[in-house]
């Protein structure tokens, strides 16, 4: 909720999906600049969602950032290896997250 507020304030369009399948629904109609993905989600988890995104030719310029409470090095490594552009662990600083996204886009 605080993220939604901050992004909107900085001029981004924000769409919120509640799980992996909803993300894929959104992607049928749009090509976002950045996707923030949680890993532990119901129905379809973050890793699987990323896999599907990476196979989609249309989305090759879309950046994906993992936002997760899973902070052990193994998970981070796995996330980056799978092709995520960044991996941010909770609790994060909104300011730093924003800077990261500014640099990417």
């Amino acid at each position: 909720m605080s993220l939604e507020y901050s992004f909107k304030k900085n001029g981004y369009d924000v769409y919120i999906a509640r799980d992996g399948t909803e993300v894929l629904e959104f992607l049928k109609t749009m090509i976002p600049d950045v996707i923030l993905l949680d890993i532990m989600m119901p129905n379809l988890d973050g890793f699987s969602t990323l896999n599907i995104i990476k196979q989609d030719e249309k989305l090759k310029d879309t950046k994906v950032i993992f936002l997760s409470a899973k902070n052990n090095p193994k998970d981070i490594e796995k996330g980056l290896e799978m092709g995520a552009d960044a991996y941010v662990t909770k609790p994060y600083s909104i300011k730093k997250l924003m800077q990261l996204i500014e640099e990417m886009v």
Partner: protein
């Protein structure tokens, strides 16, 4: 009674025996066959026609002398618990199938010794079998009141004997391996033993209570006989000495008679059966003796002054009173005694005859050339003909030699001859130095004394009057050795045993035996030590090839059994199946395989034929034995130590494992805690960050952020509280205050605070009460907490307008509470794990719900502390949680 009728009774009786033998073979494992009493009863093959008729005759004519035949065994039998247990072990591991095998194997596995022993047994036992036939024949004619026919072909007794011969040669040779157990025969013998005792009890009761007015009546009347006192006391030291020697003779016989060795050792199926036999068998003998005295004296009273043979009082008495039933029963009892003796003796003699004489001296060469089926057929055939032949020989012996002698003396002479084997027999298991030469010389000397002292006077004196004159003079020359106060038989027993034992001991001590004898001496005397790996204790050195030995084995066992045996051997000693040379263990193993079929001596000869043995000096053997004995002890110690070490290291590994598991559990728990705490902190942090940095937030959003901070803080503190609470529960820091409470009231107390939420979600909640009483013992505040967690959980997962239903009932001293809700099914694989800490958050397949993730873990801990259980299952339209609380 007519001959035909009695003959039919005998036929029926034999048919019954056939049937019992057949059923026992068929149903080997059944309890009525496989019990120690069958074994103990089969030992009563000791009680022959002699007991049935002869003892009564002795009691009537020479008084107390009938007793030693029973007292001797009764004294000796308890020692079987030690002696026979060892002999059974020795026989089992060496595949011994007869007395001759047992003795000759110990003295160097000597073929000649085993043949001599076989001859001794044949000479001692054939007359004894003749005696049984005599008893059958005479009682048959007595019962039918017909004269003994001179023509064998028209004598009905001849046919009875033929029937018995057929029966025993058929059932006695069922197995080619003579060390196998013959359950059929043994069960039939046990039945006969039972019947003969039963019939004599009937006769005894008949005599005591029907013919006379009780035992004291017989005693009082009999005591008026002039010789009553003399016959029922020891008659001073002389009589007592005779009596004692007779006890010794029969005490030896009970161990050494081939039929006793066969039933007690070869047919022993379990060592523990000996434990039952040592009290049961003496008891059996005691009951038998109990009736001999009254029957004998009743006979004297009834037939006072008449010319009747006291040996047949037991048949004459019921006949005198025209009681045909008891007469026939007694006849059948006597027949049983005779038949069982004949059968077992014939079988064991036939085994000795085939395995210790015919095969080793005549047929080994032939066997080497034939195949398995042919050899098996030959061996069985030899035994069949032996059994048949032996019985016929005994029959002839009876017809031509012992028609006129009494039952008693022939039996005792048999005993004394068999007793000549005693020094070798007992020496075998107690004395290492006993040697082949000692045994041979002692035995032969003893036999010579028996021959001149007993056999010549018994058989020749009564038939050849001219001989008698010359011999008498010769005998008078030996009168120096006469012991005046001993009877003829005790005297010869004394001298023969003295000379036999003396020569055996003297020669054994002064002349060294060969290494093979010494090897088996060790094995026999120290059987307990070698029982586990006796093949290791066999010393053999030389060259031998597995294939040669295998070739021999196949000729007797067949290809399949040989390969099977080799596999077992290789497995037991961990030997590569490709090994070509045979070691000592394999030699002994192969000899054992053959021993049951062809006897130990022949087995050795056959194996010797295909191997080349190097000579080993006695000294070397002793060294090797000493070493191997030490090795066995050392090995045992090492094994024990290594087992202890292994146990210790297992314990350590287990402890280590459980520490690793605990460590991982702790890590997991910390991970989960950190994870759980991070989520609300993230929310709080982001809200705080925005509030701090952004000055122009709209007021309502600001308020929302602040509310967020408050709820997330509450959640944080809830999690922390739950963690600490669960930790205390787990470490028993929260004591239970168990009191009597009303379960329904407790439930209401738990439900009340939740009613508001329930109404909000529009959920239908109900209770079903099936209890008879409501007071149970538990900690009320913990139980409220449990209900609230379960109900809260149900509330969380139940959709709006759903149902929650709680049911109370009690079964098998347990209070059972089920809480059902119409929420989504829990995946089967998760059902067990939902009670684990933070399970919900770790596997978020379901939509995340608020809560610490510790509620159900706390519930489980609470109910466990009460000694109860909790579990969840999917049922119908929803999920049911079941709580079981034991009533105190």
């Amino acid at each position: 009674m007519s001959s035909f009728a009695l003959f039919s009774v005998v036929l029926l009786y034999l048919a019954l025996l056939f049937f019992v033998a057949y059923m026992a073979e068929k149903k080997k494992s059944k309890l009525w066959i496989n019990n120690p009493y069958i074994y103990a009863l089969s030992l009563a093959v000791y009680c022959t026609a002699w007991t049935y008729y002869g003892s009564i005759g002795v009691a009537a004519t020479s008084g107390l002398n009938y007793l030693p035949i029973y007292i001797g065994p009764i004294i000796v039998i308890p020692s079987w618990i030690y002696i026979n247990t060892r002999i059974v072990r020795i026989s089992r591991i060496n595949k011994i199938s007869s007395l001759a095998d047992f003795i000759s194997l110990r003295y160097g596995n000597s073929r000649s010794l085993s043949a001599i022993i076989t001859l001794v047994c044949l000479f001692a036992i054939i007359p004894y079998i003749g005696l049984q036939i005599k008893a059958i024949s005479e009682t048959f004619h007595l019962v039918t009141e017909t004269p003994v026919s001179k023509n064998i072909l028209t004598d009905s007794a001849t046919f009875v004997v033929l029937l018995i011969a057929v029966f025993s040669s058929y059932y006695g040779t069922r197995y080619v391996d003579a060390s196998e157990k013959r359950l059929g025969i043994i069960s039939a013998i046990a039945l006969e033993s039972f019947l003969k005792l039963f019939f004599i009890i009937i006769l005894g009761l008949f005599v005591i209570y029907f013919v006379f007015d009780g035992f004291s009546d017989i005693y009082h009347k009999a005591s008026r006989f002039n010789d009553f006192k003399a016959k029922n006391t020891f008659n001073g030291i002389e009589g007592a000495l005779n009596w004692m020697v007779l006890c010794m003779i029969s005490g030896t016989a009970i161990c050494l008679l081939p039929r006793q060795f066969h039933t007690a050792i070869i047919e022993n199926r379990q060592e523990k059966h000996i434990k039952t036999a040592i009290w049961f068998f003496p008891l059996y003998l005691l009951i038998f003796t109990l009736f001999i005295f009254p029957i004998a004296w009743a006979g004297r009273l009834i037939f006072n002054g008449q010319q009747v043979n006291p040996e047949f009082y037991s048949i004459l008495i019921p006949q005198h009173f025209d009681n045909t039933v008891i007469t026939v029963l007694v006849f059948l009892g006597g027949l049983s005694s005779s038949i069982s003796m004949i059968i077992i003796s014939a079988i064991t003699l036939s085994i000795m005859l085939s395995n210790n004489m015919i095969i080793p001296y005549g047929l080994l060469g032939k066997f080497k050339a034939e195949d398995e089926t042919q050899n098996t057929r030959n061996i069985t055939r030899i035994r069949k003909f032996s059994i048949f032949g032996l019985i016929i020989m005994a029959f002839a012996f009876y017809k031509y030699f012992i028609l006129k002698t009494s039952l008693d003396s022939v039996g005792l002479i048999s005993f004394v001859i068999i007793a000549q084997l005693a020094p070798a027999y007992f020496g075998a298991i107690f004395w290492r130095r006993g040697s082949y030469k000692g045994v041979l010389v002692g035995l032969l000397a003893g036999l010579v004394i028996c021959y001149f002292g007993l056999i010549i006077p018994q058989y020749y004196f009564s038939y050849n009057q001219e001989f008698k004159g010359i011999l008498r003079e010769m005998y008078d020359a030996f009168s120096f050795f006469n012991i005046p106060y001993l009877g003829r038989i005790p005297q010869i027993f004394f001298w023969s045993m003295l000379v036999n034992t003396g020569l055996f001991a003297g020669i054994s001590v002064s002349m060294k035996g060969n290494y093979r004898e010494r090897n088996f001496a060790e094995l026999y005397v120290d059987i307990d030590k070698y029982i586990q790996n006796h093949e290791n204790a066999f010393i053999w050195r030389g060259t031998a090839y597995v294939s040669d030995i295998k070739n021999i084995l196949e000729r007797f066992l067949g290809k399949k059994k040989t390969e099977q045996a080799l596999r077992i051997f290789n497995l037991k000693y961990n030997i590569d199946s490709e090994t070509e040379t045979a070691d000592s263990r394999f030699i002994k193993f192969s000899e054992n395989l053959l021993a049951g079929r062809i006897g130990t001596a022949s087995a050795k000869i056959l194996i010797e034929g295909v191997t080349k043995e190097d000579k080993i000096s006695l000294k070397e053997v002793l060294n090797i034995l000493e070493e191997s004995k030490e090795n066995i002890i050392l090995n045992k110690k090492l094994t024990e130590q290594s087992q202890e070490l292994k146990k210790l290291s297992d314990d350590l590994t287990n402890a280590n494992q459980s520490l690793i598991v605990k460590d991982r559990q702790k890590d997991d728990f910390l991970d989960s805690v950190a994870h759980e705490l991070r989520t609300p902190i993230t929310a709080i942090r982001s809200a705080g960050e925005i509030l701090a940095d952004d000055d122009d937030i709209p007021l309502e959003i600001k308020k929302e952020f602040l509310n967020n901070i408050i709820t997330e803080s509450d959640r944080l503190s809830e999690i922390i509280n739950d963690i600490l609470y669960l930790d205390k529960l787990e470490h028993g820091e929260i004591a239970l205050h168990i009191k009597e409470n009303n379960i329904l009231e407790t439930y209401k107390k738990a439900l009340n605070p939740l009613l508001h939420l329930i109404q909000q979600k529009n959920i239908h909640i109900s209770e079903v009460n099936l209890l008879n009483h409501f007071i149970f013992e538990y900690d009320e505040s913990r139980m409220i907490q449990l209900f609230q967690n379960i109900l809260g959980n149900a509330l969380k997962f139940t959709d709006e307008q759903g149902t929650i239903q709680t049911k109370f009932f009690s079964r098998d001293k347990e209070l059972i509470i089920t809480v059902f809700n119409t929420g989504k099914h829990i995946p089967e694989e998760d059902l067990k794990m939902i009670f684990d800490k933070f399970y919900q958050s770790k596997n978020q397949n379901i939509l995340k719900q608020a809560g610490s993730g510790l509620g159900l873990a706390i519930c489980r801990k609470i109910i466990q502390n009460h000694g109860g259980t909790i579990y969840a299952e999917n049922s119908g339209l929803g999920v049911t949680f079941t709580i079981r609380l034991p009533e105190r």
